[in-house]
Structure formats: structure tokens, C-alpha cells
Symmetry: C2
Subunit: 191 residues, 2 copies
């Protein structure tokens, strides 16, 4: 089993990066091969040029690499903060550019085709809004985005997400407990 791990967070010293390190270490302990992308570190360009939509030959090497690695991956782990109920632009644009029609899904003469049916997806997100407000006032928009819209269209049947909050006032002890939970989730889902 190969797992594609991606983080969209601007600060290498962040809790998001601690989560990602925990994910990578746990996958290594499990003997899993990984592809790893820190979108900020690799300066991923999230902007879709017009011509690229119709012609995959125009994709830059880095986007092609993401696509090739995802084709080889049975699992996907995504780590990011909640900004306006959505991922930061760099990760939103990763979905725009990489999960393109013809690769992740396709609408054709036979209706909708989905190409991620057998991939296991795990999202870890962080936020400051209380969980009940996020769900009741906003309708848990990150769950809708990743589970229903993005990976729903791509056909993923095995999706989970864990949100940690409120991150801004969390103590060292809370974060340590959360990282223990990250480890348990990865062990359970990618063993």
C-alpha cells in the first residue's frame, strides 16, 4: 500500500506540521511507502491556466508528478487549517488542478465515471470555531467540501475526517493527546 500525504499550511512550526510528521512516522512504522508534498515548501502553483483545462499535455511537471503518484496510491492523507470554511488557496488549487476531469472523474456519454473508488482518504483539519457552531451555523463546510463534493465526485467509498479545535487556545497537553489520536487513526486506517 502506498499513501499520498499532502499538507497545505504556511508555517513549518505549526501543529499542522506536527500532525503531518506524526502521519509520516506512523506510516513508516507500518511499513507503508509514502509520497509526501508540503505545498508551501514546494511552491505549488494553485492557479489553473485556461489552456490547461482542455489539454493535459500543458500540465507542468509538478502537477503531472502529483497525478502519477496518486495513480499509484491506495491512500490519501490531507492536512490543513480551516480558512473561511475551506482549505487555504494553495490546497484549494491543488484540488482544482490535480483532481481534474479525466483523471479523478469524468462525465461522458455513459454518464459519470469515478476513478478513486478504491482509495482510502483521511483528512486532518484544524480550526478555532467551536465544533457545534461549525456544524449548526455553517453546516460543517469542510466535511461537505472534501467528503461530499470532492471525494464524493471521485467515488471514494472510504472517507474520514478529524477536526481539531479550538487550535488557537490549545495546550501542549491537548496537542499531545491529539497527536496520539492521529497515530491511532493512521494505524487503524492504513494498517
Amino acid at each position: 500500500m502506498k499513501v499520498f500525504v499532502i499538507i497545505g499550511h504556511q508555517n513549518p512550526g505549526s501543529f499542522n506540521h506536527a500532525v503531518t510528521s506524526c502521519v509520516l512516522n506512523t506510516l513508516k512504522e507500518l511499513g507503508r511507502d509514502t509520497f509526501y508534498h508540503d505545498l508551501y515548501a514546494e511552491k505549488f502553483d494553485p492557479i489553473v491556466p485556461h489552456a490547461e483545462i482542455a489539454d493535459e499535455n500543458l500540465l507542468p511537471p509538478l502537477v503531472k508528478q502529483h497525478i502519477q503518484e496518486l495513480k499509484q496510491s491506495d491512500g490519501i492523507v490531507i492536512v490543513h487549517p480551516n480558512w473561511w470554511g475551506t482549505p487555504p488557496a494553495i490546497l484549494k488549487g491543488w484540488a482544482d488542478r490535480v483532481l481534474r476531469s479525466g483523471f479523478a472523474y469524468r462525465f461522458g456519454p455513459n454518464g459519470r465515471e469515478q476513478f478513486f473508488n478504491d482509495k482510502t482518504v483521511q483528512v486532518f483539519s484544524t480550526s478555532n470555531t467551536p465544533r457545534d457552531v461549525e456544524i449548526q451555523v455553517y453546516g460543517d463546510p469542510l466535511e461537505v467540501f472534501w467528503k461530499t463534493i470532492v471525494f464524493g465526485l471521485c467515488g471514494c467509498r472510504s472517507f474520514e475526517r478529524r477536526n481539531f479545535e479550538p487550535i488557537i487556545v490549545s495546550s501542549h497537553e491537548e496537542r499531545t493527546t491529539w497527536l496520539d489520536e492521529v497515530r491511532e487513526i493512521i494505524q487503524r486506517r492504513f494498517r
Copy 2:
């Protein structure tokens, strides 16, 4: 009254650009001053660097310009396609970068402050998903994003959005009718 008009679409020949031209022409007929930004044309960088979050002095001139123009604007018009139930990354990052804490809203010792109370906001979006599916299956995520989350937090009391769909199979006649509607909406909301 000054109106800030912004478009996030990759193709200058698109219906989104026709909508934007109609918006600008109608505002001109009404005698309104406008600020106009085609995010693709001006190569807006949607990625928030870490250091910028805590120090507004680090904002690049273009982001500062957007903020200064928004301060002078009574109205905001946003035009974009629906990509994954959210705006394209270039526009998502405009929200991340421009509508920052301390400018559009602030959480302080006195609770939440909102600085866009008196701004009138109009969003025009385009999509291919049938409207009833968009609402029933996905919960109308663009409405949640712009109205409830983004401009809700900024305190806007006057928000409307019109989605045109399905754009991919729309005829010239339908698009002409839709542009007439754009004109009527702008006349009604910014007269």
C-alpha cells in the same frame, strides 16, 4: 457610491467576463465609480505567506491596493465559476489575503467586530450542476461560503447571489437573457 468589481475566471472570452462587462457598463450608466480587478489578468498571488498574517506591513502593494479600495467602496460585485463548490483558488486566496483580520473583522477583548456592515454585496456565479442537486445534495455551498461564512463574518447585511446554470449547454439566447438579468440586478441594487 463606489463599487469594487472583481472576477476570478481564467478565460477572457468566457460568459463570466461577459457578465463582468455588463456589470461595469451598467454601473457606468448609473454614474457609479468603480474599482475593477480581473485577478487572472493582474496575476493576483493567492498564497498567504506565514509572516504576513501577523504583520500587515508585509502585504505586497497589490493586496494593500485592494484593501484601500475596499475601504472606499460601498458595494462589492464578485463574478466567478463554481469549482468544487467553491471559487477558483485565485479568488479563494483573495478572500484569504484581502479580507484579513483587523480589516474586514476582528476578534478582540470585546468579542467580534465587523467592519463591512454597510457594504452591499452581489455575487454572480456559474455552474453546471442542476440547481436542485446543488441545493439538496451539496447544501448550496457557494451560498454558505459567501453569504454565511465570508460576508457573514464581515457583517454585511445586504447580500445577494445569482447563479447561472447549466452554463456548459446554455444557448446564446439563454446567455443573452441572463445578461439582461445581470443588468436589472445591478440597476436595482446599486442605483
